[in-house]
Subunit: 401 residues, 2 copies
C-alpha cells in the first residue's frame, strides 16, 4: 500500500487513555493540491475550523491526526492547542504552518494536550515511511474494532494512478460532510466522528478535487448511519501528488473517489459500535431519488427497525410504520418489502406465512439488503445501517469512564 509522493508515520503520544498508537502523520513530498469536506454540524471542533481555513487558502503538505481527544467545545484554548500542534510539525518538516491540516477524534470538551504532540513531533517526522500507511491507519482508530483501508487505481494511456483511502469511525456516525468554505449555513442533516484521508498521485487541481470529493462523499459517507448522530469533527481530505501523470476527467475522478470511499463507509457501519450486521436499506418506486433518500434515512435511523435487525425478526410492520412517518407521501396499499430477496409484505399486507420464517433466517447473515418498494416511480436510494443491540449500549452508556 504505497502511493508515489506520500509517506506515513504513527507514534504513541499518551493521548488515548488506554495507550497505544494515537498520533499519526501523513506527508506529501511537495505541497500539493488538496480538498476537503467537513461536518455540517453547527458545533465544529477547533481542528475542523483550522483545516477548513487552510485547505481553502493553500496547497497541503501534511495531515496531522490524533485519536483520543476531539478538541471540540474547547474554545480559544482548543484553537491555541491545535495551532501549536501543527506548528510543531511544520517546524520539524520545514514547511509553512498553513500546509499542515489538523484532524482530531475522541472525547469532546477536553483541550488537546498540545505539549504531548510537540514532544513527539521530531520522532514522528523521523519515522515517516512510504510503507507506513497501516501504522497510520491503526493510530487514528478509537472505538473501531478494525483498521479501515481501501485502494483503487485509474489507468490512462499506459499510466496508472493509485488511490489510497484510510478511514476511522464506529460511533457518532451519521456523516453529513459538505464542501469547505460553504458551511455551516444553513446546517444540513446529521453526520458523526468519521475521519477519512485519501492520497492519490493523479494530476488534479484543488477545484476539481473539491467538486469530485463532494460528489463521492454524498453517495458514500453521507449515505450511511450507525446512530444518526453527526459529529463535531467529521473530516474527509484528499491530496493529489500528481506523480502518476494521469489526468482524470471529473467523471473519472468522482468514480475513483467513490470506489475508495464506498468500502470505507461500509466498513464503518459494519464496525458500528456493537453491531453484528450491515444492512442496505434500498427504497424505490417514489417520485424522486430525494424522496427515496428521505424514507431510507428514516428507516436507517429508526431505533425500532435497528433493534429488529439485532433480533433477526422480519418485523415489516415497523419498516412500513417508519416509512409512514418519514414525511414522504406514498400509498401504503401498494407498499412491498423484501428482506434479502424474500417478499414479506405485498401491497401493504403480509406475504404468505412461510416468508416470515425464511426472512428471519436470512437476517442471520452479516450483510443483506432490505428493499422497500413504495410505488412505480423512478426514485431510488440506498442507505446503509447497522443493528442496535446490547453492544451499542455497552460502548456508549459509559464511554468516558
Amino acid at each position: 500500500m504505497k502511493v508515489p509522493g506520500f509517506r506515513f508515520a504513527a507514534v504513541e503520544a499518551g493521548i488515548k487513555k488506554r495507550g497505544g498508537l494515537d498520533l499519526a502523520l501523513l506527508v506529501c513530498d511537495q505541497a500539493s493540491p488538496a480538498a476537503a469536506v467537513f461536518t455540517r454540524n453547527l458545533v465544529r471542533a477547533a481542528p475542523v475550523v483550522i483545516a477548513e481555513e487552510r485547505v481553502l487558502s493553500s496547497p497541503a503538505r501534511a495531515i496531522l491526526v490524533n485519536a483520543g481527544n476531539a478538541n471540540a467545545c474547547t474554545g480559544d484554548l482548543g484553537t491555541i492547542a491545535a495551532l501549536a500542534s501543527t506548528r510543531a510539525i511544520a517546524e520539524a518538516l520545514g514547511c509553512p504552518e498553513v500546509q499542515v491540516l489538523p484532524a482530531s477524534t475522541g472525547v469532546i470538551g477536553q483541550v488537546l494536550p498540545a505539549e504531548k504532540i510537540q514532544a513527539k513531533a521530531a520522532e514522528l517526522v523521523a519515522a515517516l515511511d512510504e510503507n507506513g500507511a497501516e501504522a497510520f491507519a491503526d493510530a487514528i482508530l478509537t472505538t473501531d474494532r478494525w483498521r479501515k483501508v481501501a485502494t483503487t487505481t485509474l489507468d490512462q494511456s499506459g499510466l496508472r494512478a493509485t488511490f489510497l483511502g484510510i478511514c476511522k469511525g464506529a460511533g457518532m456516525i451519521h456523516p453529513d460532510v459538505g464542501g469547505a468554505g460553504k458551511l455551516p449555513q444553513p446546517p444540513g442533516p446529521p453526520h458523526a466522528t468519521m475521519l477519512c484521508f485519501v492520497v492519490t498521485d493523479v494530476v488534479a487541481d484543488a477545484a476539481l478535487l473539491a467538486q469530485c470529493l463532494e460528489a463521492a462523499t454524498d453517495v458514500t459517507f453521507n449515505a450511511v448511519s450507525v446512530d444518526g448522530d453527526t459529529s463535531t469533527n467529521d473530516t474527509v481530505i484528499v491530496i493529489a501528488s500528481g506523480k502518476s501523470g494521469v489526468t482524470p476527467t471529473a467523471a473519472e475522478l468522482t468514480q475513483a473517489l467513490t470506489e475508495v470511499c464506498r468500502p470505507l463507509a461500509r466498513s464503518m457501519v459494519r464496525d458500528g459500535e456493537g453491531a453484528e450486521h450491515a444492512v442496505d436499506i434500498t427504497v424505490r418506486g417514489l417520485a424522486s431519488d430525494k424522496d427515496a433518500r428521505q424514507v431510507a434515512k428514516a428507516i436507517a435511523t429508526s431505533p425500532l427497525v435497528k433493534t429488529t435487525i439485532a433480533g433477526k425478526d422480519a418485523n415489516w410492520g415497523r419498516l412500513l410504520a417508519t416509512a409512514g412517518r418519514s414525511g414522504v407521501s406514498f400509498q401504503p396499499t401498494v407498499a412491498s418489502v423484501f428482506i434479502d430477496g424474500v417478499c414479506i409484505c405485498k401491497n401493504g399486507l403480509p406475504a404468505e406465512a412461510s416468508a416470515d420464517a425464511e426472512a428471519s433466517l436470512r437476517m442471520k447473515k452479516d450483510e443483506y439488503v432490505i428493499e422497500v418498494v413504495l410505488g412505480t416511480g423512478p426514485g431510488r436510494f440506498t442507505y446503509t445501517t447497522c443493528d442496535l443491540g446490547h453492544g451499542y449500549i455497552d460502548v456508549n452508556a459509559g464511554y468516558r469512564s
Copy 2:
C-alpha cells in the same frame, strides 16, 4: 375513580399471547359529544381510520379497545374485522354502530381476531361498572410495566366536573397526534403506539372538545419521546357526558385536559421500554418556541444522548453536538448546559472539574431536568425523554417472538 355518566369493563379474550385482560369497553350512558386526535403517520391502522370517520360524523356512546393486536397493515380484512368487532358491541348495547369507536394496540400486520371479540361482547357489556376504570386501564396495556390513570377537577359556581384519563404506552412512543379529519396531509413529525381515553362530565360540544384536545396534546403527548418512532395506531379520544352542568371556557377546558394528559405522557416515558429515568430536556434562549422545540426534540431522540443518560455520564459534549446538528442556528460559544441545576458547560466550554462528578451523581435520580441555554431569546420548549439502555434492546430485539 368515577365520572358521572360512564361505565367500564374488561375481559380476557385471548388476543394477547401471554394471556390476561386484553379487551376493554368504556360506555357513556347516552351518546355524547366526542373529539379525537390520531397519529399523523401515513400508515394508519384500520381502527384509526374507522374511529376518525365516526367521531367526525356522530356523537359517541362507547370506545372498544383491544391489546395484543394493532390491526395495522391488514388491508380490507383488517377493516372488516374492526367493523365486525364494533358491530357486536353496538348490538349488545343497542346503539348505532357509528357510536362505537375502536382502538387497537399490539403487533402490526396481523388481522384482528374479530371472532374472539364477538364471543365476548355480551360478557363485556354485562360487566360494565362505574367503578371499572382500573380494570379497563389494565386491559389496554401491552409492554407497559404499570397502569396509567390521571384525574383532575374543574369547579364552577359550586359545581364540580371531573376528568379521568386512562392511557397506555411504553414503546414506539413519539406521539404526533393531530385533529381528526385534517390528516395525514401533509404528514407531520413522528408519534407512537399510545392510546389515551379521557372521560369527563363537563358540558362541551364536539368542536370545543376538538379544539382544546388538540391544544392539550400538542404540549403533552406530542412533547415526549421514548424511541422517536411514531405508531400507526396513536389515538387520543375525549367524551363529555355533560352530567356535571359545568360549562368551561376554551381556556379552562384546555387547561383541564392538559392537567390530565401531562402526567399520563410523563408516565409513558418513565415507563419507556427498559427505561430507568425520565428526563426533561428544556431548551431556551432561542428566537422562538418552535426553534427550541426542534432542538429539544433532536436531543430527546439522540441515541448518544439517551445512552449517556443510561450511563449516568455528564457528557455535555454529546448534548451540544446534537443541538448543533438539529438544523437550528445558534452561537455555540454562548451555549450553557445544566444537569439537575448543575452547570457543566458555560459559554461552550467545560465548567469547573468538580461539576462533572456532581452532575453524574444527580443523574442517578429517577427524574431530573437537562437545561440547554443557547442564547438570550424568549423561545423555550421542554421535551421529555428516557434513557436507552439494555432493557430497551431486551424488549425490542425480539418483540414478536
